[in-house]
């Protein structure tokens, strides 16, 4: 089943579908597994597993530190794929790889897609790979039924959205504001207008990310977008308040 077909069947009567995020190996793979169990219990639809990289230039402070500490603890690409295989076999949600292009480049694009597929991943998000450089990777992915997730942003022109829309697969990741991951986004007219503009250029589901942290954000987004992406808010809750608060956060985000 393709990512898009899966999203269509898992929608049900949820106010929105939820994509959540963990940095592989941070705080540890054991913690990751407990986080994912809670996510699954709360009906999260998609999870991005971030493969740590030494130069995570699109990430904000919390994820930068997570990448750094995970690598320091010795996390390898192979461990991340093994973990992905465990996770995709164990939980109902679909799994994407999130990371930076050098991880893929060093591995080789063909080998990367084969390994991703073998580990049960259904797509990938690579923020530093612009579409102009992605031709080969996207065509290998397409051949193997893997979805490359394209990003659209407040600075993306209509003409460029048209180009990106043609390459979109699975869903479009809409970056709600300028900046890096982790700071609060003021949900309002700007975000609505952006999502409307995105929809003019693609008919795949629309996911909104960057700065989503609360039920209020979901209530705002549920009428305009399909998927809400929870990243930093979840890790912050895990670190500062522990598993119970983490569970409460996801329960509140997914409540009907």
């Amino acid at each position: 089943m393709s990512l898009r077909e899966y999203l269509a069947t898992s929608r049900g009567d949820k106010p929105m579908q939820i994509m959540a995020h963990v940095v592989c190996g941070y705080p540890s793979f054991e913690d990751n597994m407990r986080e994912l169990e809670i996510m699954a219990a709360n009906g999260v639809d998609v999870v991005e597993l971030q493969f740590p990289f030494s130069e995570p230039s699109a990430d904000g402070p919390l994820f930068v530190r997570a990448n750094e500490l995970s690598l320091k603890a010795g996390t390898t690409v192979e461990q991340c794929f093994d973990f992905m295989a465990q996770v995709s076999g164990k939980f109902p949600f679909k799994v994407l790889m999130m990371g930076y292009y050098n991880t893929i480049f060093k591995m080789g694009e063909e080998k990367y897609i084969a390994r991703l597929k073998e580990a049960g991943g259904v797509g990938f998000i690579v923020p530093d790979l612009p579409i102009e450089e992605a031709g080969e990777l996207y065509s290998v992915a397409d051949r193997e039924g893997i979805s490359p997730i394209v990003l659209m942003t407040p600075t993306t022109s209509d003409a460029r959205m048209e180009v990106l829309g043609k390459a979109a697969s699975g869903f479009v990741y809409v970056v709600a504001r300028k900046g890096v991951t982790g700071s609060k986004t003021q949900m309002g007219d700007d975000v609505s207008a952006l999502v409307k503009r995105v929809r003019q250029h693609t008919d795949v589901p629309v996911a909104v990310g960057f700065g989503i942290s609360s039920r209020e954000d979901i209530d705002f987004l549920k009428d305009i977008a399909d998927i809400a992406i929870i990243g930093t808010a979840a890790l912050k809750t895990w670190e500062e308040q522990g598993p119970e608060a983490f569970d409460a956060l996801f329960a509140s985000l997914t409540a009907r």
Partner: protein, 419 residues
């Protein structure tokens, strides 16, 4: 075909090196920058204004100096030096910074940001921002802030905000990442003044263009002084902007070009910053471009080391990587020890004080000059002056009288604080 005549669909590529690997959010900003740069490059009045400003503000043209004592002592080639150390702020960095300042005015932006390692580029950018009336934020690794306090002092006094970056190795590459994070947030009113000929297109081309003033002058000067072209031209290579600047003057000539990297503790040590002369680096994509990086097999960056903070960097200018692959530029590396010896020799025989970075070029040039004929000519880029980096140089030379002075100074400050 020129280096910058890109084939269809290969804009910003030099062979397999270069490109633009940036988040989607920066696409429009980079397009705007490319368009503005193209306009400036095609406008002769822009270059005229740039050259005039470099004359009146930075003292260009910088001279080419003959080193008779050192030439005689080594008994080989005649040694000449391009004096980029005589620029305002003490290095070639100002060439790029003033150029990007003029470009920033055309872009209509009011704020500049920059990364800095040793502090030279941050210092030059803060100077430019003060002159042009831009707000200025400089990102500098916390480790570098701690070891380069004099440059931080000047940047702050010139009106710049200096942000100490505490991620990663807390050095140059981490400062670049942090500057990128600022840029993806504030691109509407902010220009990123990247300090070397690295990063995403159009930076390698743009920085090389501003630095080409070095090679244009040097070719004319050496011809005027000696009646011929040099046999060999040496420059140190960190990111690679001073070398690109000088080498561009001689690319079409029968002149051997040698890039000198930071050999640190030597080839087997893994404690160096030599991407091309040693064999540990491999092709990768990071910090917005494709080149040789010092990285592990999974693509995570290795720690680097050099006696010269300005050379202590994981990647190398993609144009230089291409010229190396084509056999047009030869690469060699000078170890920390070779650099110390060369610095002592140059100071004591000629009264010149090259920056530790530039001394890497001297170290290799002097070794080769000694084996050349007396009617041959060697030209070295003295990309910066060392006297201003007194703390770093004194450390490198392990000077006990200096240490005594500093501890006395510290005691005096402590006493003043308590009284």
């Amino acid at each position: 075909m020129g280096l910058f005549d890109f084939a269809e669909g290969r804009e910003g590529y030099y062979g397999k090196f270069g490109g633009t690997f940036l988040p989607e959010i920066l696409h429009a900003t980079i397009e705007e920058l490319k368009a503005c740069f193209r306009e400036c490059k095609n406008d002769p009045s822009f270059w005229r204004e740039y050259v005039e400003l470099m004359q009146s503000y930075s003292g260009r043209p910088t001279p080419v100096t003959y080193l008779p004592n050192l030439s005689a002592k080594l008994g080989g080639a005649q040694i000449y030096v391009k004096r980029e150390d005589l620029n305002h702020t003490g290095s070639h960095k100002v060439n790029n910074v003033i150029g990007q300042g003029l470009l920033c005015k055309r872009l209509g932006k009011k704020r500049v940001i920059a990364e800095t390692g040793a502090g030279q580029h941050g210092f030059a950018t803060a100077t430019m921002a003060a002159k042009f009336g831009f707000d200025c934020t400089i990102y500098m690794g916390a480790v570098d802030v701690a070891r380069q306090r004099p440059n931080v002092f000047w940047m702050e006094n010139l009106g710049a905000e200096v942000v100490a970056v505490t991620d990663g190795q807390q050095t140059l590459k981490d400062a670049i990442n942090e500057a990128m994070r600022d840029w993806v947030t504030n691109m509407a009113d902010t220009h990123y003044v990247l300090g070397t000929a690295c990063g995403p297109h159009p930076f390698p081309e743009m920085v090389s263009w501003f630095q080409s003033i070095v090679g244009l002058e040097a070719r004319e000067q050496i011809l005027a002084q000696t009646g011929k072209l040099p046999n060999k031209v040496f420059a140190c290579v960190g990111g690679g902007s001073n070398a690109m600047g000088l080498f561009q003057g001689f690319l079409d000539d029968d002149v051997e070009l040698i890039g000198c990297e930071a050999g640190g503790h030597g080839p087997e040590s893994h404690q160096h910053a030599s991407r091309l002369a040693y064999t540990d680096a491999s092709l990768g994509v990071a910090q917005g471009y494709k080149t040789y990086f010092l990285q592990n097999e999974e693509g995570n960056m290795n720690e680097t080391h050099s006696i010269a903070a300005g050379l202590d960097y994981i990647g190398v200018n993609p144009i230089m990587a291409y010229l190396w692959e084509q056999g047009r530029v030869r690469f060699d590396a000078a170890t920390d020890d070779e650099v110390r010896d060369a610095l002592r020799l140059v100071m004591s025989t000629e009264g010149l004080i090259p920056a530790l970075e530039s001394t890497h070029g001297f170290a290799k040039a002097l070794q080769e000059a000694a084996k050349m004929n007396k009617d041959e000519i060697v030209l070295i880029n003295m990309s910066g002056r060392g006297d201003k980096d007194i703390f770093t140089v004194a450390d490198a030379l392990d000077d006990n009288k200096w240490k005594h002075f500093i501890s006395q100074k510290a005691a005096q400050y402590a006493q003043e604080k308590n009284s």
